[in-house]
Structure formats: structure tokens, C-alpha cells
Symmetry: none
DNA sequence: GTGGTCTAGACCACC
DNA sequence: GTGGTCTAGACCACT
């Protein structure tokens, strides 16, 4: 499904959260899609099920997925995700933009990036950031 | 100059790096400005000089400041900072933008944030992110 | 594993970095190999663990090794190392070549050196540059 | 004549030596050319004449320049420079090549660089490595 | 006084 | 046991 980045010092569950989030945001996983069970993913990635469980639990808290007893985890409807707070996200966006500006990026450059993102909303793109696009 | 947040789980030297970076990007510290000496800042913040030294050393590696023996640390000329790779930064920007889009932010909204940033390039604003503006 | 040269004016951590780099480039340490723990190497060379830690940390920044908490340091997969910028390295190569040319070295001479290097890619050779070949 | 690199941690006299060497090797300064007097260069670069003097003295020891009392320093005839030891230089060349190989550079790539250097022997090029070509 | 290096020793989180 | 952070204090070279 995806690969964890060796050399990434963040806890495993954080990386899993991020990857799943990217799959949802990138349009690879859609509303209502079932995601692999805790055990499946744990086996698949040869890590502890508890780690996967924690990632899923936090994703559920953030509204990205929801669980149905004895059925599994599913991607939340988009309206639900939208409700989440955008504050921290906006800070991250602004900080990155400010630093890019300081480093000489033109406003038009950044705006174009934005337009490309909005234009190709459901483009899958390079989910892992490692130059490959992997299948589910 | 600024205060460290105990309760922030990140290492002290990371927090120092971030603060200094914000002071530079925010336009409070300018090209060639001398920043507090390792010992000064250590006393000021009642932490160990080694911790400050590490923060400064890593900021130097990132190109934001440079050191001159027996003189001190100085803010790098902006051209030097601009030379640094913008790749990682652009990824951060794009990721944040994509997630904001997914959460329902309009393209115009984000563009306006950008324009505000570029308009008020030298505005100092809330450097510490804690609601206060402190003097040097 | 190797010996540090007292009398070498460079800092100890720089010497450690160089030695490890040579072991990796020279093919003695391979992808995924675990290198001695910070404490082991410190005891082995009768220097302070902090000094070893700094060397390892900087090698990690340069992409040559990566750390896993509670496990140790490991040689990075080669693809990771290849990703690093070759610009600075190319400048060093070119500068040396230019000076050699100016001092009368023939192009064929240098090309032959190159071919020997590429031919004996995994030859271990004199890793320490001190005329001895040491075992791990 | 040239600019010293702020943020370069080597002693000033080392940097001056390097720059002069590049000017000679790059073909900008030729056999018998007079180089600026110690005092001239010191004033020009607003540094201590002793620093310049040391650089010149070491360049003279290395055979790159020679002094004539009351006349100044002059670029040595090329035959004289060729006599200098190529050992250390060859090590630098080999080390850089080995690391480039490890990082994925093809042998042909490096050979081409060599051929370009030998083809354009007297090309001046980017002496300071900062993208500019400066006049004497 | 400055930065830079190194030592010694402590504590934490992780596994 | 491992890496990671932090403190305390020393010494050096430089200006």
C-alpha cells in the first residue's frame, strides 16, 4: 500500500497517519472506501498491530475515517472532514509561504502552484514523495 | 529576545532554531546583523551554551547565519539563503495547500493569504506565535 | 575498526566522519550494515560518546547513515546516498583535475586513474590512507 | 581582484592562496605576470598585510610565484610549477572520483569532464565559483 | 571577549 | 542495551 520512510525520526503511527491522509486527500481513497484492517496492514508492513491501531484511532479522531464494528474502517464523507479545524493547517501553509517568499519565490509562482492543485483536484500524483505511484 | 516554551516537546535547540529563523524571515533580523553570542543567549535563557551552540551550528548549516571566530554569528546575506534548496519547502507548502483544499478552503482564500504575505513583506507580526511581539 | 590520528589538526569528529565515509565508499560497509554504537566506538577509541554522536549525527545529515532509536546506526541504502547533491563534489573533482593538468598530468593519466577506480569498484584498498588495511 | 567567501571557516591566507592559484591555473594570470603587491592587495581587500604576506610566502614555497626584491611578486614559469608534488593532489582527485562513483556518476561522465578541462585549457571560467567572472 | 572542541556525567524514551 | 538531549566545565585559537 505504501512504504514507510526509513530515516524518518517520527513515530511509526505518525507516518502511517500521514500516508493514509495523503491517499484520501490525493483522491486515491474515496468517501466510503474501506481501508485495510488493522491486522491486514500490520501484517503487510510487518509492524505491530497496536501501532496501526493507534494511527487509525487518531485518524478517526481527526475525522478522516470512521469505524464500523466488525466491519472495519472507512473513509469519511468529505463534508465531515471539512469540518475539522483549519487553523493549524493554515499556520503551516503560511509559514511555508513566508519562508518561500524570503528565499526568493515569486508570488505568481506560488499562486500557480495553488491553481495547479485546484485544477487537478483528483490527480493522484506522487503520493509517497519518492517518485513512485503505488497501487492499493 | 524570545522565550522558550517549556511544555513544547521539541528539543530546546530546535525551538531556538525556529525562533531565529522566524526573526530572519520576519524581517526583524537583517543581512549582516549580529545575533546574540552563544554565551549571551545561554545566560539570557538560562540554558547551557552547548545547546545554543548546537542551534546556531545547525542554522549555519542551513545557510541562515554564518560565524566568524572571535566575532560572533551574523545573519547571512539574503542571496546566500536564497541559494538553499526550495524543494522540501515547496513540498510542505503544497501538502498544506492540498489538505486545505480538501477541507474546503477556496483557492481565492489561499491566494489572498499569499498576497497579504507578499504585501506586508517586512511586517513583523507575531513572531513567537504566542500572541506577543517582543523587542530585540 | 580504525584509528584516529593525533597530530591531525582536524577535529576528532571530522576524522571519524571521514573514516566512516571511506568505509562506505570503499565498499567495506554495505547498505543496511549496522555500524558500531555510539558508546561502543567511544570506548573503542577512548574518546567521549558525545564526540562520536556528533560525527554520526552529521553523517546522518549528509545521508550516509541513518539512525533507529534503541537499535543503532545503519548504512543508508545506496539510492539514498546517490540522491545527495553531487555539485560540491564535482567542483572538488574538477579543481583537482585542473590543477593536475596545469602541473603537467596528461589527460590519459587521469582517465586511467578513473578506469582503475571503476574497474575495482569493490576493492577495499588502503582505507585509512596510512598504508595499512585494517579489519572490522 | 576577487572576493573572499564569508562563511568559509578556513584562515584568510588559505583562501587568498586558493584564489591566486585558481587565477594562475585558470589561465588568467600567466608566466611572469606581476601580481598585486602585498600592500596593494591588503588595502584592496581591507585585510592585514601580514595575512597577504603569508599567503604569498606559501605560494612562493609551493612554486606558484616568485619574488624579486623591490619589484614584487610574479607568476612562476609553468615548468617550475610542474615540478611540485602531485601526490596530495592525486589523492584529492581520487577521493572525489571515488565518492562520485559511489553516488552514481558514470565513468564516461567524469571522463567527459576531464576532456572538457583539457580541451579548454586556457578558458577562464568561473574562478570564484560564485557565478561571476571578475576582472583583474 | 568570541566561536569551537572535547570531556564527563546525567536523564529520557524506546525496545 | 540504544540513540537523543542537556548540563557543567574545561581548554584552545583568535582579535
Amino acid at each position: 500500500m505504501f512504504q514507510l520512510d526509513i530515516g524518518d525520526h517520527r513515530p511509526l503511527y505518525e507516518q502511517i497517519k500521514e500516508k493514509i491522509k495523503f491517499l484520501i486527500i490525493g483522491g486515491i481513497l474515496h468517501d466510503g472506501d474501506r481501508i485495510p484492517s488493522v491486522r491486514e496492514l500490520a501484517v503487510d508492513m510487518t509492524i505491530n498491530p497496536n501501532t496501526v491501531a493507534r494511527a487509525y484511532r487518531e485518524l478517526e479522531n481527526d475525522g478522516f475515517i470512521y469505524s464500523q464494528k466488525a466491519k472495519g474502517y472507512f473513509v469519511s464523507p468529505r463534508e465531515r472532514i471539512e469540518k475539522g479545524s483549519r487553523d493549524e493547517l493554515t499556520v503551516r501553509f503560511t509559514d511555508a509561504a513566508r519562508e518561500l517568499m524570503y528565499r526568493g519565490a515569486a508570488c505568481e509562482e506560488l499562486c500557480e502552484i495553488l491553481h495547479n492543485i485546484y485544477k487537478g483536484g483528483t490527480d493522484h500524483g506522487d503520493v509517497n514523495g519518492d517518485g513512485r505511484i503505488e497501487e492499493l
